[in-house]
């Protein structure tokens, strides 16, 4: 009887220990398995995001290349042809002095001058040559000057990041230029602002761009900045260069955006 009881006690201890080990192992394997699946899914999602970013980059780059080609064609071919046409009209002189001809000549030259100017603007907008030759700050200054000349909006540009901006590669510079161009466009079209300010600053780790206008602003909500194509373009261009942005806007208090581009 003593032996049987000892046996039962031993079996109980073995049974309890065995069951505990089984359960603990089962739970640990479950945790490991679920965490591994979770990690795999996160890796898959990251790969998907990277792929989408790559696609976006390819789209933006091909768009820029196409803009550059069209801009150059407009400037070189259409611009040259129009200048030739202007010369031709000027060279042609009737045998007798005719008032109708003089009026026609003046009106033709004015129209051609206007078309040349428009073509130059379009060409510049499509592919700002200054950006490639002199960098982002010069291109923004040039673009601001053109807008300032219109008298509708006064843009003040402060550059406290000259060295950092000069070292930016053309892809990043183009992206930031397009973003600022879009912001200025939005200010002109929608804000009713009279003044806008762009401040470039840099540290060893990042370049920051502060943009602000004194227009009517926007109500801050979850979908602020996601309504129009313009803001979507800004978001996708900044995402493509790993830059981040923070909107600061209130109705009646102007629109502001802070852009941060990491240098490393």
């Amino acid at each position: 009887m003593q032996r049987t009881t000892d046996n039962i006690y031993f079996q109980m201890i073995m049974g309890m220990s065995g069951a505990a080990i089984l359960v603990v192992s089962f739970i640990l394997f479950s945790i490991r398995n679920q965490n591994r699946l979770l990690r795999q899914r996160q890796q898959f999602q990251q790969a998907e995001i990277a792929h989408q970013k790559e696609l976006l980059r390819a789209v933006i780059e091909s768009q820029e290349a196409e803009r550059k080609r069209i801009g150059q064609d407009l400037h070189d071919d259409v611009g040259t042809s129009l200048s030739g046409l202007r010369l031709l009209i000027e060279m042609f002189k009737p045998l007798q002095k005719d008032q109708h001809y003089t009026d026609f000549l003046r009106s033709s030259k004015t129209t051609i001058d206007k078309i040349v100017k428009d073509v130059r603007h379009i060409s510049h907008n499509l592919s700002p040559a200054t950006l490639g030759y002199y960098g982002l700050a010069a291109a923004i200054n040039e673009h601001s000057d053109i807008i300032n000349q219109s008298g509708k909006l006064t843009i003040e540009v402060q550059n406290r990041a000259e060295a950092a901006l000069e070292q930016l590669n053309i892809t990043v510079a183009t992206a930031l230029y397009r973003v600022l161009e879009e912001l200025l466009n939005n200010t002109i079209k929608h804000s009713g602002a009279s003044r806008a300010a762009i401040v470039f600053a840099a540290s060893s780790e990042q370049i920051t761009i502060e943009y602000k206008d004194n227009g009517k602003g926007l109500p801050i909500s979850a979908d602020t900045g996601r309504k129009g194509m313009g803001m979507q373009n800004i978001e996708s261009r900044l995402l493509n260069i790993n830059a981040t942005f923070v909107l600061s806007t209130q109705p009646g208090q102007g629109f502001g955006i802070g852009i941060t581009y990491p240098l490393n």
Partner: protein, 220 residues
């Protein structure tokens, strides 16, 4: 050494039940029905355990009959907890199982194991069904890949339930055959008390996780 074992079995291990109770009250407003049911179960366990301890240690009265009352209520509480994670149809089936189990406990007490013995048959069946429920719970809910396993409060609770009933199953089966008091019996009781303490710690972690809404969705 025996004094330490006495203190461990009588005071330290049972008092671990207060840890999940404290966490549950701290996060009470975040608790859903399943967790509130579990809280009531722990309070019920504490009351029964204290009663049993006082009767045995202070008045030297037999206490095994208390388990005959405790078992169907314990089963009903934990089934009610599990039922919150399953659909309405399965929930009603589980309620039916709880009623049938209560009837089984009554028959067991009347015809098979008297009040003088531990209701080993009932507790073994109780443990087997709750182990099955725990496995069903994990099978159903471990497919969520939006969060880590440990983020879900209910996972910790069910891990505690599974560990306790699996480890105690052999003790419930053989308890009535333990006739000789001695070191080996003490080892078994200490092992059992330790598993209970671990179960309460896991419950406490589960209640603590409730504060940030990490529970697996329950059916309304």
């Amino acid at each position: 050494m025996e004094k330490f074992f006495f203190i461990y079995l009588t005071f330290i291990a049972p008092s671990t039940a207060l840890i999940p109770v404290v966490y549950a009250f701290i996060n009470y407003r975040h608790l859903n029905r399943a967790f509130k049911t579990l809280l009531f179960f722990i309070i019920f366990s504490v009351v029964m355990n204290t009663t049993s301890s006082v009767m045995a240690r202070v008045y030297h009265l037999p206490t095994l009959w208390l388990f005959h009352i405790y078992t169907p209520f314990e089963f009903a509480f934990i089934i009610a907890f599990f039922s919150e994670f399953f659909s309405k149809r399965i929930r009603y089936i589980m309620y039916g199982v709880a009623v049938a189990f209560a009837f089984f406990c009554l028959c067991n007490t009347l015809f098979f194991q008297s009040f003088k013995q531990l209701d080993g048959y009932s507790r073994s069946v109780d443990a087997l069904i709750l182990i099955a429920c725990s496995m069903l719970f994990f099978a159903k809910n471990n497919n969520d890949l939006d969060h880590k396993w440990g983020d879900f409060a209910s996972n910790w609770i069910v891990a505690g339930v599974l560990l306790y009933y699996s480890s105690s199953l052999f003790m419930f089966i053989f308890f009535n055959m333990m006739t000789l008091a001695g070191t080996i019996q003490m080892i078994i009781f200490i092992g059992y008390a330790t598993v209970v303490a671990i179960e309460y710690v896991l419950f406490a972690i589960g209640f603590n996780k409730c504060s940030a809404q990490q529970t697996i969705s329950t059916f309304k």
